[in-house]
Amino acid sequence: SQQGEEDPQALSIQEGENATMNCSYKTSINNLQWYRQNSGRGLVHLILIRSNEREKHSGRLRVTLDTSKKSSSLLITASRAADTASYFCATALRGINTGNQFYFGTGTSLTVIP
């Protein structure tokens, strides 16, 4: 299966601390994306990193990608209570003229304690 695996499964930190979660996958990818899911709601796209990129920043988010190790990490700096959610990595395989095919990981449940 191409499905990625996030690590850790659950993470609990104090507000203001940094949170790091990791994603490992199995086959070559076109790009890797991180999504956030608040309890009982749909997923929201956070950031995309292409296979030829090594690092990407967006606000308090920093994503790294190591294609040689088939792994990615998501760092959330200066966490807030509102960051409490589940975070998923999604690996995108190239589809010829058809859009990417996505495989989601198992998710990391982040709790930020006020």
């Binding site: 999504y35 749909g42 997923l43 995309l48 589809g95 003229n97 859009g99 095919q101 996505f102």
Partner: protein
């Protein structure tokens, strides 16, 4: 810009009954996805459409699940007959092509199905 619409939001049925979910993607998005998300797990792709054609349905249990996207716009996903293990949230997403050939997905709120 309106988001991805799904209905119903919740559905409770008994096993062996049938159920249908509806999705209307963001206007202009050619690619539409249906995912099944079981509690505590990540979304699993069931079927992917490009316009009104199926791109990938390798994980769709075809003996009981069916989906269509007539006219390449909205889509329906049907389960007949339902089993207890079908209890999950069914998510619809659509995507658009970004610069460089990458795609970003936009998700609807999902339909929470409970099979009793």
């Amino acid at each position: 810009e309106a988001g991805v619409a799904q209905s119903p939001r919740y559905k409770i049925i008994e096993k062996r009954q049938s159920v249908a979910f509806w999705c209307n993607p963001i206007s202009g998005h050619a690619t539409l996805y249906w995912y099944q998300q079981i509690l505590g797990q990540g979304p699993k792709l069931l079927i992917q459409f490009q316009n009104n054609g199926v791109v990938d349905d390798s994980q769709l249990p075809k003996d009981r699940f069916s989906a269509e996207r007539l006219k390449g716009v909205d889509s329906t996903l049907k389960i007949q007959p339902a089993k207890l293990e079908d209890s999950a949230v069914y998510l619809c997403a659509s995507s658009t092509r970004l610069t460089g050939g990458s795609y970003e997905q936009y998700f609807g709120p999902g339909t929470r199905l409970t099979v009793t």
